[in-house]
Amino acid sequence: MPLLQVTDLSVYFHTRNGVLKAVDGISFEVEAGKTFAIIGESGSGKSVACYSMLGLVPMPPGKIEAGRVLFEGKDLLTLSEAKLRKIRGKGISIIFQDPMTSLNPFLTVGDQLIEPLRLHFPISKKEAWNKGIEILEEVGIKNAAQRMCSWPFEFSGGMRQRVVIAMALVTEPKIIIADEPTTALDVTVQAQILKLLKELQEKRNIGVIFISHDLSVVADIADQMAVMQNGRFVEQGTRDEIFTNPQHDYTRKLLAAVPNFEKPEQENKSEQNLVEVESLHIQFPSNRGEAPIKAVDDVSLDIKPNEILGLVGESGSGKSTLGRAIIRLLNPTSGKIRFDGQDITRLSMAEMKPLRRQMQIIFQDPYASLNPRMAVYDTLAEPLLLHKIVTKKDLDGAVCSLMDSVGLSRESVLRYPHEFSGGQRQRIAIGRAIATKPGFIIADEPVSSLDVTIQAQILDLLLELVERFNLTMLFISHDLGVVRYLADRILVMKEGKLVEHGTVHQVFNSPREVYTQELLNAIPGRTLTD
Amino acid sequence: MILNRMKWTIAFLSLVLIGCGGGSEERRVEVGAREGVLHFGNGTEVQGLDPHIVTGVPEHHIVTALFEGLTSKNPYTLESEPAAAKSWDISEDGLTYTFNLREDGRWTNGDPVTAEDFRWSFERALTPALGNQNNYMLFPIANAEAFANGEIDDFKQVGAKVIDQTTLQVTLRTPTPYFLQLLDHYIAYPVHRNTVEAFGSYTDRISQWAREGNIVTNGAFELIEWQVNSHIRVEKNLSYWDAENIKLNAIVYYPTENLVTEERMFRDGQLHRTNEVPLDKVSVYLADDPDRIVIAPYLGTYYYMINTTRKPFDDVRVRKALVMSIDRELLNETVLEGIMDPSYALVPPGTLGYQPPKIFAYDPDQAKALLAEAGFPNGEGFPVFELLYNTQENHRKIAIAIQQMWQANLGISVSLLNQEWRVYLNSQENQNYDISRRGWIGDYVDPNTFLDMYITDGGNNKTGFSNQRYDQLVLGEAPTKLNQDERFALYYEAETILMEEVPIIPIYTYQTKSLRDPSFKGAPSNIMDHYNWKYVYLEASE
């Protein structure tokens, strides 16, 4: 008898501009100890389906049109709020996507951890506290007793996700809904979290509903699967059935989006370097007493004209700091930076201005890198006017051509950033970066927070732009799979030091460093490519 | 769920509001009447209690309860009565006064009140280093002015001698009929030497002697408690020589700067007497509650002074035009609620029977003619000038009304300048004004307290007015006349000159107005608004 039985569940949203069919009649079952994965792009309704089962979707505007959800013999959709609350967090609990925002910043980890325990079980604070320490150790957090009293912002992304998982498990639920639990994490950390989930699932014989947009992640852990598009399951079956012969073309499109192509070797003859960095040191003052934090520790590198150099490392390895220092958004503590032969380490802001036109940057978070109160037109027009690339009268033409070159429709030029999807915003950011026809671009994890299919499109766009405007690019990322698709040479960085460098082929096939090997193993979906 | 929690908190809040207010318990005024405790609204906060330093009227009400001079004033007749001095006799030439003190006069610490106490107190009051702003009132005493100006520094030359422990002899510069009245002003009150000198030199203004716990007094009441800006409580002084005849057990004075707040306190039964009454409330009380409001003439005149040194006010015709174009009757009936007497001269009528001259009346046509004669036909070319007054509700109303009258009758435009108190005083001191509001309350009941202001270069003469004949009459001839009628005739002639020159525009004679609880007795209204605390008593009304 399956733990959870969902039969043709449909949830519609009645908004001012018409009815949105978020979930349109889906049915599936979850067995104990098994993982049921739901795959679909953002906006496909996969989260709404799971949340509506537990009454977490605000009604109105949402409304459960039809369907039955059987759990422990009861139909969750007909339960009263009070009874449903008995199940929420006890029978079924949820792990959310972004660990940065799903923990209450104003309460200690311990308080938040024991809260569901004290709510659902009649046990004393002391007992609950001990249980909390146990569960923290189980999810792999060292000296758990001490960490119980520290605050969420004192944890790294991966550690916080472990706390969220502990919070879901502490009440020993029968079913866990994991809503894209690893999307916001680094690849290496993602691998550890997935391994942890697998172990806990088998040990406690829990049924897991795993929601994701990334096929390669799901490939490793799913037993049963379903591909969801516009509220409906377009395909459903075991993992092997779906991966070996996908029926629906949407599923095929998803499979094709997984980057496993390796960029062919290109000989880069030019001796003369565009960017040279010699023994660069960047230190940040830590709070009193301890030694200053060495973000970048004696790094030297050089980038040849229209080459794409991949800079890979985990978050906190100093790769973004290095990137920002090269285009002088940060002042290095010591060392030299030369751009096109000119030493720009100690230039003043005024002296840097002409050079600013030569080098641009694209950021990771499409939601934060565009001014929310500036229409796209102004965002693109600003660099054009600032560096007098075009005169006022043919400004409109230039802006429209930029829109074309990044593949956005001209009509949307007068709209605001919040009216675009993540992928489209990144296109705008790229448009802004190439507006001044720079020679050198730094892309700081440009695709990390995008869906896999969108990632592929953006990477193709970047490659095309590098060709068309023969740009030189420093591509920073934590995901070796993505870098492999794009870069000519790769540098691997760990705790502020360069540990490995070489061509794409060398690094992927015969890595010299143990750390690089670790990174390679962490790439999800190995089973797919081999 | 969340909603009813909110409702619950709001309900609790309103409960608190209702719960704590009991019914109307017995009012403070009724309790006071029963226990003989008077609750007295006293106007602005009292600055201090040292008779030789303080100056204001609020201080007067308290110091007269705590201390006692040689004479005191009968509240009904305003005649001088024996106080610390049992009796006195005056020489024929009116120059020498001999006072016989009471043997049983005592300070609150038991020391007897001696003639030396008075002599030393006169010396302290006149010592220049003390900076006593009222010392000019003792100048009638021989050589007092010279000592006060530092010309002589040996007080023996001043006309105040101790004959023996209970006899004091005072000799005057010139015969001064009103001298006895001066002695009941607190400038002439004795202070206890040892107490003063225990807290620093006798010329220290900054001293702790005149405070609760330290002060030693010889009056009918003694100081019990003083919380600044809250209240001052004095209780019957049992060691006072006339203690049995004191009817009140205690008086509590309250600082009531805000007229409106004071009126509300009165209505809430917290005060037996208020210091003032808001103009707008006067007609209400006159109509609904006449026996609670008392309006009485007051020895003071409300007038505007003109800066005759400034064009075009140096021309007497302009001044006359301004004076005649004010309809005082209308002003009184409307703005002043009909309770003030229009005045056409400086000295209030009926001051000891003296009647001032009345030279002009409200005559807008003649005023317009005079103005035209002076070169400003119906106001053309007349410069805009400023009418200065200090920030106070009634001054504002009067100024606005007069501004309108000048505008309508003479066609001249006036801008009102409302200055904060100290700035206003500063403007007057430096004669930096066109026309300015001014009020003067007599220090004693005699025309001289008004007329001696406008002698040439007189300290209080800020108008630039100067007339030899006038000076001769007021300073020279009048003081020499022993007979009151002759003296008044000379004053009449002097005031006539003043009213012809018109450096000042008299507007109305002051009236004191205050609200009184029916139980407040023994305080007849008199033109000095003087309360003699030995006469005041409270009668519990049934």
């Binding site: - | 280093a129 900076g131 904060e420």
Partner: protein
């Protein structure tokens, strides 16, 4: 934490010193001195007065003499009340004004937060418009209007509550506190509404609901802490503004607080009193800003993290 407090107090010293110096000379620049009087005063008397209060010395000498006394904690004699020292008057007035301010702020926070949270729970509905419009009344009705109206209605017509005095009869502290607190309640209502709206859209509330917590615990335990941060940041500086604001309430209700001294001193050019109250006002501002920062840090641990830097 203590290091942060030490740094802030060190920073405060130059602030207070500058305030004293500026006020010292500003006051003397205002026309009309402490001894200008309606009756003419002879020059000898004026000279004696100035000599007693050291006003005859050149300004900078007066300044140094004053500062020397100040460091000994002596604020000098009051010009307006010769037998009283400024220290004594302040120590009599300050506790009363602080107490009034505390009650006023308590009422303001109570009413303001309740109204703000109510409004935030259902934005743009009646439950939002009613509390917000009522709070607007607090802004439109100044204390010199609200006070007399309350006195008239509750004091005289209904006679529930005494209308003047402080502490000498039961319930006489209620009306003045409401009058003073009304305006602050309006500000706090608006601040807590926008603060709560901001927090209610956060993910961690969804996590809390997912744990099966009932709605009101989600609001009180999780949302309120974050939502009230702007209110806490506002209370600090606002509390210091109470001193001058309390003048009107103290006059209407006959309360012997520092507010009244403060304004009386200004009108009477009581230099030492002005300086004394200003020094206390300046230190009040520093103290309450510090308190509100500490309270914010207590609520928001991330701020606490900055303290250690």
């Amino acid at each position: 934490m203590w290091r942060f407090i030490a740094v802030r107090t060190l920073q405060a010293i130059p602030v207070i010193l500058t305030v004293i110096t500026v006020t010292f000379f500003l006051v003397r620049a205002a026309p009309g001195g402490p001894f200008s009087s309606e009756k003419a005063v002879s020059d000898q008397v004026k000279a004696a007065l100035e000599e007693q209060y050291r006003l005859d010395l050149p300004a900078y000498e007066q300044y140094f003499a004053y500062m020397v006394d100040l460091f000994r904690g002596d604020f000098g004699p009051s010009f307006n009340f010769p037998s009283r020292s400024v220290n004594e008057l302040i120590f009599q007035g300050l506790p009363i004004t602080l107490e009034l301010g505390l009650y006023a702020m308590l009422i303001a926070v109570l009413i303001g937060v309740v109204a703000g949270v109510c409004a935030a729970l259902k934005p743009n509905t009646l439950q939002d418009y009613i509390p917000m419009s009522l709070s607007m009344i607090g802004i439109c009705m100044p204390s010199f209007l609200l006070g007399p109206v309350l006195v008239l209605v509750f004091g005289i017509w209904l006679d529930w509550v005494p209308i003047s005095g402080w502490g000498n009869s039961a319930g006489d502290k209620l009306l003045p506190s409401i009058t003073l607190g009304a305006m602050y309640a309006a500000y706090i209502a608006r601040l807590s509404r926008s603060g709560m709206l901001e927090v209610l859209s956060q993910d961690y509330l969804r996590t809390a609901r997912a744990k099966g917590l009932p709605e009101y615990i989600v609001i009180i335990k999780h949302a309120l802490r974050g939502g009230l941060l702007p209110v806490v940041a506002y209370i600090g500086p606002a509390f210091a503004g109470l001193l001058s604001g309390s003048f009107v309430v103290e006059t209407v209700f006959q309360i012997p607080g520092l507010g009244r001294f403060y304004v009386q001193a200004a009108f009477n050019r009581d230099y030492t009193m002005i300086l004394g109250t200003t020094v206390f006002l300046a230190s009040l501002i520093v103290v309450f800003n510090l308190l509100s920062d500490i309270l914010s840090a207590w609520i928001n641990p991330r701020l606490r993290y900055q303290f250690r830097k």
